[in-house]
C-alpha cells in the first residue's frame, strides 16, 4: 500500500469501525456512502499535484492523526459567549458552525419566502433529491480530478448547511455563516455549505472562518457546493482569520447554467496553512464568472489558491484576479487553469495573479495555465512576482513618509483592486479597513475582523 493510500485509508478504516452506528440523516448517510466509494478509488491512484505548495497538498494536510467526531459526542460550546458577530451595518441572516455542528441563530427564524437556510439533516423533502444529486455529481467528478478532499469531506460529514433560493427570489440581505474552530484536542472538522439559486434567483453568502484554539492544531475540511440555475446570481465571500495552528482544506465546486452569474472572493488575513481549491464549470451559455482572492501572509503562514475554470458553453465570460503579499518566511502558491472545451465559442477569459514578496525568506510559486480546444476565443493570463517599486518608495520617502508607512501604503494600494471588486458595499468598506489594519501589524482579532466580535452579542437560541 502506498504512503498516500495509507494517509487516506486511515479515514476509511475509521468509518468502517463505526459503520452502522453513525446517527446521520438519510441524505448525509447517502453522501457518506458516496464519499467512501470515491475515496476508495482516489486513494489508490492519488498522486500529489507537483504545482501545489507541499504543505497544502491533501496528503500533507490529512496525514496527521486528527480526531473526528463521527459519533456526534456533544462538545459543549457556549456560542453566545464565544461568538458575537456582525460587520457594522451589515444586516444578515447568521448561522454558526461550531467545529462541525450547525447552530442556527434567531435571525434564521424569519427568512423571506423562498429562502431556505437549514441543516443538511433537515432539508425539506422536495429538495432532498436535488441536493443529493448535486453533491454526488461533485463527489463523483472528484474521482476524475484525483483530489480526495471532496470525497473525504463527504465521507466524514455529519452536518452541513443548505442555502436555497427558490425561482425568482432575490435576497438582498446576505446569509452569513460563521465557522468557529474551538477544539480541545487536535481535530478534523468537516463542513459543507450547499448554495443553490434556482432560475433568476439571487443570493449573497458570507463565510467567515475563525479559530479560538491557538495551541491546538486543527484541520477544517470545508466544501462549498454551488449550483447556479438559469439567470441566477450568486455572490460568495470568504474571509479567513484563523490561528497559526489552523489548517484548512477549502474547496468550492460550482456549476453554472445559462446566463448565470457567479462571483467568489476570498481573503486570507490570518491563519496557519490554507489550501483553497476552486472548480467552476460553466456548462450554460452566456455565463459570467468572477473569482478573486487576496492573501496577506507572514510568520510561516502558507496559502495556496488553485483554480480550475472550465468553459463549456458559448459566450462565457470569466475574470480571475488573485493577489498576495508575503512577509517574513511566508509561502504562497497559485495554480490557475482556464479550460476552454471544444465548441465553447466566443469565450472571453482573463486571469491575473500578482504577488509581492516582502520578506527575505518568503517564497511564491505560480502556475497560471491555459488549455484551449476552441479557436473563437479570447483568453489571456498574466502573472508577476516582485517587490515594491523602488521608485515609488523613494518618491514617498522623499516627501517625508517613513519607509515603513510607505511600504504599507503601497501594499494596501496593491491590494485595493481585489477589495474594490467586492460588490457588497458594506463588506467592501470593512475589507479596506481590515486590510489596512492587517498591514499595519494589528493582529486580526475579534474586534477588528469582519465578524467584529464584541460589537453586538448574538443570540444563538431559537
Amino acid at each position: 500500500m502506498s504512503k498516500y493510500a495509507q494517509v487516506f485509508g486511515q479515514y476509511l478504516d475509521l468509518c468502517r469501525q463505526v459503520e452502522g452506528r453513525r446517527a446521520a440523516a438519510p441524505l448525509i448517510a447517502r453522501l457518506n456512502k458516496a464519499g467512501a466509494e470515491a475515496l476508495g478509488r482516489i486513494a489508490g491512484k492519488y498522486r500529489p499535484d507537483p504545482m501545489a505548495v507541499p504543505q497544502t497538498r491533501p496528503d500533507s494536510l490529512f496525514a496527521p492523526d486528527y480526531g473526528v467526531n463521527l459519533m456526534r459526542v456533544d462538545l459543549p460550546v457556549d456560542a453566545a459567549a464565544a461568538f458575537r458577530c456582525g460587520v457594522p451595518n451589515l444586516n444578515s441572516y447568521v448561522g454558526i458552525v461550531a467545529n462541525d455542528a450547525f447552530h442556527p441563530t434567531h435571525s434564521l427564524q424569519s427568512l423571506p419566502e423562498g429562502l431556505t437556510v437549514c441543516s443538511l439533516s433537515a432539508v425539506p423533502e422536495h429538495l432532498v433529491e436535488k441536493v443529493i444529486n448535486i453533491l454526488i455529481h461533485i463527489v463523483d467528478n472528484s474521482v476524475e480530478t484525483g483530489d480526495p478532499t471532496e470525497a473525504l469531506n463527504a465521507l466524514l460529514l455529519s452536518d452541513g448547511i443548505l442555502i436555497h433560493a427558490a425561482a425568482g427570489v432575490k435576497v438582498d440581505k446576505a446569509v452569513q455563516i460563521v465557522n468557529i474552530s474551538n477544539p480541545a484536542t487536535p481535530m478534523l472538522a468537516p463542513r459543507r455549505v450547499v448554495v443553490i439559486a434556482e432560475d433568476d434567483a439571487g443570493l449573497k453568502v458570507l463565510l467567515c472562518d475563525h479559530s479560538q484554539a491557538p495551541t491546538v492544531e486543527h484541520l477544517s475540511v470545508e466544501c462549498v457546493s454551488v449550483d447556479a440555475a438559469k439567470g441566477s446570481s450568486i455572490e460568495i465571500y470568504d474571509i479567513e482569520e484563523g490561528q497559526p495552528t489552523s489548517r484548512r482544506a477549502w474547496r468550492l465546486n460550482a456549476r453554472q447554467a445559462d446566463s448565470s452569474r457567479l462571483s467568489v472572493a476570498t481573503a486570507f488575513l490570518q491563519g496557519g496553512i490554507s489550501g483553497n481549491g476552486f472548480h467552476v464549470e460553466c456548462t450554460g451559455d452566456h455565463t459570467q464568472t468572477s473569482l478573486s482572492g487576496l492573501a496577506i501572509c507572514a510568520c510561516g503562514q502558507v496559502v495556496d489558491n488553485s483554480v480550475t475554470l472550465v468553459h463549456k458553453g458559448l459566450h462565457g465570460t470569466s475574470r480571475q484576479n488573485f493577489k498576495s503579499a508575503l512577509y517574513d518566511d511566508a509561502r504562497g502558491g497559485f495554480g490557475g487553469k482556464i479550460v476552454v472545451a471544444p465548441g465553447a465559442m466566443f469565450t472571453d477569459a482573463a486571469q491575473s495573479n500578482k504577488n509581492l514578496i516582502i520578506g527575505d525568506d518568503a517564497r511564491m510559486s505560480t502556475a497560471p495555465q491555459l488549455e484551449i480546444y476552441c479557436d473563437e476565443v479570447k483568453c489571456s493570463h498574466g502573472a508577476t512576482t516582485g517587490s515594491l517599486d523602488d521608485r515609488a518608495m523613494f518618491y514617498m520617502q522623499s516627501r517625508g513618509i517613513p519607509a515603513e508607512e510607505a511600504r504599507r501604503m503601497l501594499t494596501q494600494s496593491f491590494m485595493s483592486d481585489v477589495v474594490d471588486s467586492i460588490s457588497f458595499e458594506v463588506l467592501r468598506q470593512r475589507m479596506h479597513v481590515l486590510v489596512e489594519k492587517r498591514l499595519s501589524g494589528a493582529a486580526a482579532s475579534c474586534d477588528t475582523c469582519a465578524t467584529a466580535c464584541g460589537s453586538q452579542p448574538l443570540n444563538t437560541e431559537l
Binding site: A362, M364, A367, P368, E376, V377, C379
Partner: protein, 492 residues
C-alpha cells in the same frame, strides 16, 4: 435562432478555406537516401551498450559512463506529465546504432558517398555550396556518425575545436571527460539516461579563451535508416570571453513507423562568454491522419557558469509527430543572461509540448522568454515553462511572453508556466494570450487589395517575426522555408 446560438456562418468563410488549404500541405522532404548503413540488431541490453562502445572504439571510462546510465535507465519509467498522448514505445524493437559502412574519413567531397551528397542537394543545402557561399562550417550528422566536416583547418588556426563527438573522444578525451554529463546528468530524466547509455555520435565544440568564432557553426541532423533511433549528443564549451553561434537543423525522410529521437545538448558558458544556439527542427511529422512521424524527446540545457555570460536559444519547431523539448538555462554566474525565443508550429495530428526553464541561482541574472505557438488541423501545441529564482539570487529579472495563434477549431493551444520565486528582490513577469486570426484582420487586408491567402501569410509572418529576427541571417531563410512548408501556401 435564439440569442444563445452562436453566430457562426453555416458554410466556411473564404479565410477558413484558405487556412484549411494552407494547413493541409504534404511533407516535401519525405524521401529515403539509399546509403549503405551498418545496423546492429534491435534491442537494448548491457551487451548492446558494450557493442556500441566497442564499435566506436571508446575508452573504458566512457563505457563505464554508458553502463551507469543504462543501469539507471532500467529503474525509470517514461515521463507522463506532458500534455501529450504518446503511444507506448517498445524500446526493445529499436536498433540503437546505425553507421554508414564506409568508415574511412573522406579527405575531399569526391570521396563522400554520392548518394549522401545528393541527399543534401535535395534538401537544398548542398555542403559545397554552403562552404563556398555562406562560409559556414558544416558538420553533417547522418544516422549518427559524422560524415563530413568542413572549414576545420580555418577553425583549428584559432584553436577552435569543432568535430564529431567520436573524434573528440579520440582526440581530446580530457576535455570531453571534464565536461560530459556536467549539465545534463544521466540521472536527469528517462530519455537523458537512455541517450547517455546509447548515444552514437554528435558534435563537440570548444572555443578557447578570448576567441570569437568567425563563422556560424552548423550541424545538419537527419534520421535515415528505418527503425533506428537517433541518439546524438552535442557538447559546446565556450571558455572565458569566447563567442560562438551554433546552428542545428533537422529534416527526416518519410517513414511509416514512428522513429525515436532522443538527443542531449549540453552547453557550458564561462566568464563573459556568449553562446547563441539556433535550431530549425523539421523532422517528419506523420501524414494528415497521424500515421508515422518522429518522436522528438530532447534534453537541452546550458550552464552559464561564468559571470556576465550569455546563452541564447532560438528554435523554430515545425516538424515531429511528438515534440518533448525544453531548452533551458541555469544562470549561475553573476549577471548572466538567458534567452529563449521559440516558434512552434503544429499541424494535422502533431503534438508539441515545448518551452524552457530559466533557473536563476546567480545574482543580477536576467532572462527573457518569447514563445509563439501556431496550431492548425487537429494538433495540440503546449508551452511549458519554469522560471525559478533561488533564495540567494538577488536582483533577478525575468520577462515571459507566450502567445498562441489558432488556425482551426479542432486544434488546441495550451500554456503551462510555473514561476517559483524565493527572493524578494526578484521581478518576474509572465503574460500569455490566445487568439485566432480575426475576420477583421483579413478584411482589412482584403480591402487594401491583399488577397486572403497573402493576408494569412502576412499575419502569420508578422506574428512569428519577433522570433525569426533572432535567427542568424543564413538560417532565417531556411526557417521561413520550413514554416512555409508546414503551413503551405500561406507563408513565405
Amino acid at each position: 435562432m435564439n440569442d444563445t446560438t452562436p453566430q457562426v456562418p453555416a458554410t466556411p468563410s473564404e479565410s477558413e478555406q484558405v487556412i484549411s488549404q494552407a494547413t493541409s500541405g504534404e511533407y516535401k522532404y519525405g524521401f529515403t537516401s539509399d546509403i549503405d548503413t551498418d545496423i546492429i540488431p534491435a534491442g537494448l541490453s548491457e551487451e548492446v551498450v558494450r557493442l556500441i562502445s566497442r564499435k566506436k572504439g571508446e575508452p573504458e571510462w566512457l563505457l563505464d559512463f554508458r553502463l551507469k546510465a543504462f543501469r539507471y535507465w532500467l529503474t525509470l519509467t517514461p515521463p507522463d506529465w506532458a500534455h501529450l498522448d504518446i503511444p507506448p514505445i517498445d524500446f526493445q524493437s529499436i536498433s540503437y546504432f546505425a553507421a554508414p559502412k564506409s568508415k574511412t574519413a573522406p579527405k575531399s567531397l569526391e570521396e563522400v558517398d554520392p548518394a549522401l551528397i545528393d541527399t543534401f542537394n535535395r534538401l537544398g543545402i548542398p555542403i559545397e555550396e554552403q562552404k563556398a557561399l555562406s562560409g559556414m562550417a558544416v558538420d553533417a550528422v547522418m544516422d549518427s556518425v559524422s560524415v563530413k566536416t568542413t572549414h576545420k583547418e580555418r577553425l583549428a588556426e584559432l584553436g577552435i575545436i569543432f568535430c564529431s563527438f567520436s573524434e573528440a573522444v579520440r582526440e581530446y578525451p580530457d576535455l570531453v571527460r571534464k565536461y560530459l554529463g556536467k549539465v545534463v546528468s544521466y540521472r536527469d530524466n528517462f530519455y537523458a539516461a537512455l541517450n547517455s547509455a546509447v548515444f552514437s555520435d554528435g558534435s563537440f565544440v570548444y572555443i578557447p579563451k578570448g576567441v570569437r568564432c568567425p563563422m556560424e557553426l552548423s550541424t545538419y541532423f537527419r534520421i535515415n535508416a528505418s527503425g533506428t533511433g537517433q541518439f546524438e549528443r552535442t557538447l559546446i564549451v565556450a571558455d572565458d570571453d569566447a563567442y560562438v553561434s551554433y546552428l542545428e537543423g533537422c529534416t527526416a525522410p518519410m517513414r511509416d513507423e514512428n522513429q525515436l529521437h532522443a538527443a542531449i545538448v549540453e552547453i557550458i558558458v564561462e566568464e563573459r562568454a556568449e553562446v547563441k544556439y539556433s535550431t530549425v527542427q523539421n523532422w517528419y511529422a506523420g501524414d494528415a491522419q497521424g500515421r508515422g512521424g518522429v518522436y522528438n524527446f530532447v534534453t537541452k540545457r546550458g550552464l552559464c557558469r561564468g559571470d556576465y555570460s550569455k546563452l541564447s536559444w532560438t528554435q523554430v519547431e515545425t516538424g515531429s509527430a511528438i515534440t518533448w523539448k525544453y531548452p533551458s538555462c541555469i544562470l549561475a554566474g553573476e549577471g548572466s543572461v538567458g534567452e529563449f525565443y521559440s516558434v512552434a508550429v503544429t499541424n494535422n495530428r502533431q503534438q508539441a509540448d515545448t518551452g524552457t526553464k530559466m533557473i536563476h541561482t546567480g545574482s543580477n541574472t536576467r532572462s527573457t522568454i518569447v514563445s509563439k505557438g501556431i496550431s492548425a488541423g487537429c494538433s495540440q501545441n503546449s508551452y511549458r515553462g519554469l522560471v525559478k529564482v533561488a533564495k540567494d539570487a538577488t536582483g533577478v529579472r525575468n520577462y515571459t511572453s507566450c502567445d498562441s495563434l489558432l488556425l482551426s477549431d479542432t486544434c488546441g493551444a495550451h500554456t503551462f508556466p510555473v514561476i517559483d520565486v524565493a527572493n524578494p528582490t526578484a521581478v518576474v513577469e509572465h503574460e500569455a494570450t490566445t487568439s485566432k486570426i480575426s475576420e477583421q484582420q483579413i478584411f482589412y487586408c482584403n480591402q487594401r487589395g491583399i488577397p486572403t491567402e497573402e493576408a494569412v501569410a502576412l499575419i502569420v509572418n508578422g506574428y512569428a517575426r519577433e522570433v525569426m529576427n533572432k535567427l542568424p541571417m543564413e538560417f532565417a531563410v531556411e526557417a521561413q522555408k520550413l514554416l512555409a512548408i508546414t503551413l503551405e501556401n500561406s507563408v513565405g
